[in-house]
């Protein structure tokens, strides 16, 4: 089945997620859709799967225009999707999950014919080497197997086009290899696959054709034979580093933050941070680059006391950092959380209250139980001026402010006290250029005052513009640390995609992990 997208444009309030995107997927090919986070890949696929309606453009199947009102239509048209966040009912068995919606029944009352479904699942799974126990309960299965269940779900519905949204993001290298084998087996039987990813090695290894998306538009289409990693990386991130931050070279001082052999598990019990070491010195900015989901969030949570590490040490100026967010605050750590509205601010609170969200309990804002309204107000008035927070009044709910001003509220709150360390995750995500520059200037100013700064960002521009040293995080570890001069987009893109620049081979972290207490990162 041939699939074609023609001139797809999809707008959201304030952003154009896809602009005039063309994509042709021939029958029986693996077509990779390559792009950074936020390049518009998922939006495009949701349009294709009937979850979003395009504002412009059309979808053609075998050269005939089709229109999808919902996923049901897409499924009927033979399109199957494996979502990045699996759509599986955890307490159901594999068979139940697969048959849901297209149940085989016998009898007038719709009795489930589990045996027939089971046989078909076994048959499909054997045909493509998927190795699935149809009677296992999904919540007991490892992530890699769950993904195979999702694939079986689409095959069970006889999909001709399979969309895989970042399928390898959650897989171990071995599982990824298995997935590729399955994909090759599928295209051999005539199925087309759209493979969404940002990992260069994988694209070159498995794709027949590659389309690169950048900022919602098609940056180019090529094949693995014609392209190499460097070209793809350049196409993906763009050559031009837009942001330039005025700053002098760093004057690194004493080590402030030392992370030693840190292991942090995520909700599933996997080592999201896997024996990681890093040091940030006073007066320098260490920027951590990396694709989201490689353990950055867990690292930040462990440092800021929000998540208990399973092993290792976090030292602040040589002292173990205590383990509640309040202790960390008192030790002089500023935290700019990844998700402004969910974690950093209380939307219904006023600007004034949000400016004391973590210091409301200490003088001058309170004595004992009593809050000092005047102190909170004057603090707010000072900071609103100092940080140029545009708000009609300090009594306005912070939820009504623009994203940039919200982030300024957080910056004002976190930076306006004596601090030793700043931990900032995605500090400028979703902000306009003016606000980005402003936040960057503030961070550099704090560095110049002697604070150690740890930035986590998936924006390469930001990492390069801010970092005095740039570390790349991949699968829970720092794979390399570069100076800004070394950190070309190509090189960063390669490292973030899991390729080591010297040998060009994927970094095998499982093999090189230290022996002590080691276990596979996704074990």
């Amino acid at each position: 089945m041939k699939l074609e997208l023609r001139g797809i444009t999809k707008r959201f309030p304030g952003v154009v997620a896809n602009r005039d995107v063309d994509l042709i997927v021939q029958a029986g090919e693996i077509h990779a859709l390559l792009g950074e986070n936020g390049a518009g890949k998922s939006t495009l696929m949701n349009v294709l799967y009937g979850l979003y309606r395009p504002d412009d453009g059309e979808i053609l199947i075998d050269d005939r225009v089709v229109a999808f009102d919902g996923p049901g239509d897409a499924i009927d048209a033979g399109i199957g999707m494996v979502h990045q966040h699996f759509m599986l009912v955890p307490v159901f068995t594999v068979t139940e999950n697969v048959m849901l919606g297209v149940e085989t029944t016998r009898g007038p009352l719709g009795q489930l014919d589990r045996r027939a479904a089971r046989e078909r699942i076994v048959e499909i799974s054997e045909r493509h080497g998927l190795h699935i126990d149809p009677d296992a309960t999904v919540e007991d299965l490892p992530v890699g197997v769950r993904q195979r269940v999702e694939i079986i779900k689409t095959l069970y519905r006889q999909s001709n086009v399979l969309i895989l949204d970042e399928p390898s993001a959650v897989l171990t290298p071995q599982e990824t290899e298995d997935l590729f084998a399955v994909m090759r087996s599928l295209v051999a039987t005539g199925t087309s696959i759209v493979f969404i990813t940002h990992k260069l090695n994988e694209v070159l290894e498995v794709a027949d054709r590659i389309t690169v998306l950048r900022r919602g538009t098609v940056a180019g289409t090529t094949t693995p034979a014609e392209a190499n990693r460097e070209e793809l990386a350049a196409m993906m991130v763009g050559r031009d580093v837009q942001l330039v931050v005025d700053r002098t070279p760093a004057q690194p001082g004493e080590p402030i933050l030392e992370v030693r052999d840190l292991v942090v598990r995520d909700e599933r019990g996997h080592n999201a941070v896997n024996h990681l070491d890093l040091t940030v010195r006073a007066g320098e900015i260490l920027a951590i680059a990396g694709v989201q989901g490689n353990g950055q969030s867990e690292l930040v949570e462990a440092i800021t006391g929000l998540r208990e590490p399973d092993a290792g040490d976090v030292l602040l100026a040589g002292q173990p950092l205590a383990d509640t967010p309040r202790d960390v605050f008192e030790a002089g750590v500023a935290h700019v959380p990844e998700d402004r509205m969910e974690d950093g601010l209380i939307a219904d609170f006023t600007v004034a209250d949000n400016l004391v969200l973590n210091s409301y309990w200490q003088p001058p804002f309170a004595s004992g139980l009593r809050l000092h309204g005047e102190a909170i107000v004057s603090n707010a008035e000072t900071l609103v001026g100092e940080y140029d927070i545009r708000t009609p009044s300090i009594f306005n709910p912070v939820g009504n402010l623009s994203g940039g001003n919200q982030q300024k509220v957080i910056a004002a709150r976190e930076f306006s006290r004596p601090i030793k360390l700043i931990v900032a995750a995605q500090p400028t995500r979703g902000l306009d250029v003016g606000s980005i520059e402003y936040i960057h200037r503030r961070i550099v100013a704090k560095r110049d005052e002697g604070a150690a700064v740890l930035i986590v960002s998936s924006e390469l521009d930001e990492v390069v513009a801010l970092g005095d040293r740039i570390a790349v995080m991949y699968r829970g570890r720092i794979v390399d640390t570069l100076s800004p001069e070394e950190a070309t987009p190509e090189r960063l893109g390669l490292l973030m995609g899991g390729a080591h620049p010297e040998d060009g081979e994927p970094v095998d972290l499982v093999g090189t992990a230290p022996a002590a207490g080691s276990e596979p990162s996704d074990g």
């Binding site: 909700e267 800021t304 929000l306 509640t324 967010p325 309040r326 960390v328 605050f329 935290h335 959380p337 969910e342 974690d343 950093g344 601010l345 209380i346 939307a347 219904d348 609170f349 006023t350 004034a352 209250d353 969200l357 973590n358 409301y360 309990w361 309170a366 004992g368 139980l369 009593r370 809050l371 309204g373 005047e374 909170i376 107000v377 009609p392 009044s393 009594f395 306005n396 709910p397």
Partner: protein, 432 residues
């Protein structure tokens, strides 16, 4: 999963969020802002007022359609039936009003007659309203406080019972104390009793994630049985009585009437002070800052170093204590003795009061007087017109529906939705 915890945040009605004066005095020069505040305060009143209006209208329909004589008339004389229906509803609601506030004429003439007896009779209805409003303020505050922290305290009724038990025991156990020592002890005992009953769901929620709604519902039933049992023990039961009724509290533990001869007692002052206290706690104290932060956005509260568990336990203990105070006020200011079923559902009415009062202490006080008046007026209304007092419960139920579904009220009155559509979603799952 993060997506779900997001929805844990509690939004009862959208108004209090933005209309709340922050922990700060108004700034005079911010004229624009204060203008907005008046507007949003008005908007905060508009919705409850419309909800009330709608509820009374539906109540009127119920009164009309359940009147068999009227129904007969619809067939023979529709025009007359409309008039008769109108006058029937007016009679009923008029009697309700007279029973709760009094007859304006009588009030007026009594004021000028300077006749003590006439005055007392004229102010009788108002006094009854105050008597009913007293526990409603306290249970309303209890529910409202828990709401602010994102908890739904359905257990105010049980907490009230426990408070009344503790208060009555303290009231009859200590003999020969001066009132200024004994009364505070008895009132404090009431607070303590309720606090214990609030502590259980708070602790279970914080430690095990047990849903406070289920736990408090169950604790309500446990409390009824506990009271029934206690009232039959030798220690509590009144000598020589076969039925479950407690000993009578010592005179030194009785809350005195505001005016001799009227039933309204100083408990209303305790309730109003409690309202001020809750307002202070919520909007002027560090704990209240934490409570509201946890209620609005538990994740951000945790990021800011607050303890969600602590806020949960502490707020439930305080909420329980407030409901316990209500029990103490009813017993110590009323009959001075405890018997099963002494509460006509003050704890449940507290939920209505808290919702109508938009979980603001001042709003709670106003709503409590409103529903206190309904309760007080219901009995005379039934005597005068034969309309059963339970119409009041029906009206309360309808008020809840209209308050809880602002979209419904907007649809009825064709008001354009505010900026934050869908904010009335406040979803809580069972379990953890």
């Amino acid at each position: 999963m993060a997506d779900e915890s997001r929805h844990q945040e509690l939004e009862t009605t959208e108004a209090p969020a933005s209309a709340e004066p922050a922990a700060s005095p108004p700034v005079p020069e911010a004229a624009e802002a204060s203008g907005n505040r008046v507007l949003s305060a008005l908007r905060g009143i508009l919705l409850p007022a419309l909800a009330l209006l709608a509820a009374f209208a539906v109540g009127a329909i119920i009164i009309i359609v359940t009147d068999f004589d009227l129904l007969g008339q619809w067939g023979s004389d529709p025009i007359g039936a409309i008039g008769a229906s109108w006058s029937s509803v007016m009679r009923t609601y008029g009697a309700l009003l007279r029973g709760s506030i009094g007859d304006p004429g009588a009030l007026f003439s009594a004021l000028f007659s300077a006749d003590w007896e006439a005055l007392r009779r004229a102010f009788g209805p108002l006094s009854e309203t105050i008597v009913s409003a007293t526990p409603l303020i306290l249970t309303g505050l209890s529910v409202a406080l828990a709401f602010r922290v994102g908890l739904f305290n359905i257990g105010a009724e049980g907490q009230l019972y426990l408070g009344s038990l503790f208060a009555v025991i303290a009231g009859f156990t200590f003999v020969g104390m001066p009132w200024f020592i004994h009364l505070p002890i008895a009132v404090a005992a009431g607070f303590l009793g309720g606090a214990v009953w609030g502590f259980i769901p708070g602790l279970l929620k914080a430690r095990t994630g047990a849903h406070e709604v289920i736990v408090t519902i169950m604790l309500n039933f446990v409390s009824y049985n506990l009271i029934n049992w206690a009232l039959k023990t030798e220690f509590v039961q009144r000598e020589g009585r076969p039925d479950p009724i407690s000993k009578i509290v010592e005179p030194s533990a009785v809350i005195p009437p505001l005016i001799d001869g009227l039933r309204a007692h100083w408990g209303i002052v305790i309730a109003l002070l409690a309202a001020v206290g809750v307002w202070w706690l919520l909007f002027r104290s560090t704990k209240g800052f934490e409570f509201r932060a946890v209620g609005f956005n538990p994740r951000a509260a945790r990021y800011a170093g607050m303890s969600i568990s602590w806020a949960t336990v502490l707020s439930m203990v305080t909420a329980g204590g407030l409901a316990g105070l209500a029990g103490a006020a009813v017993i110590l200011g009323g009959s001075g003795t405890l018997s099963p079923g002494f509460s006509p559902g003050y704890g449940f009415d507290g939920i209505v009061v808290a919702l109508v009062g938009a979980t603001r202490p001042l709003g709670v006080v106003a709503a409590a007087f409103l529903f206190g008046a309904l309760r007080a007026g219901a009995t005379p209304m039934q005597a005068a017109t034969g309309t059963p007092i339970d119409i009041v419960v029906v009206i309360q139920a309808l008020v809840i529906m209209f308050i809880a579904a602002p979209a419904l009220v907007r649809a009825i009155f064709r008001i354009r939705a505010e900026r934050r559509m869908g904010s009335e979603v406040f979803a809580k799952g069972w379990g953890s």
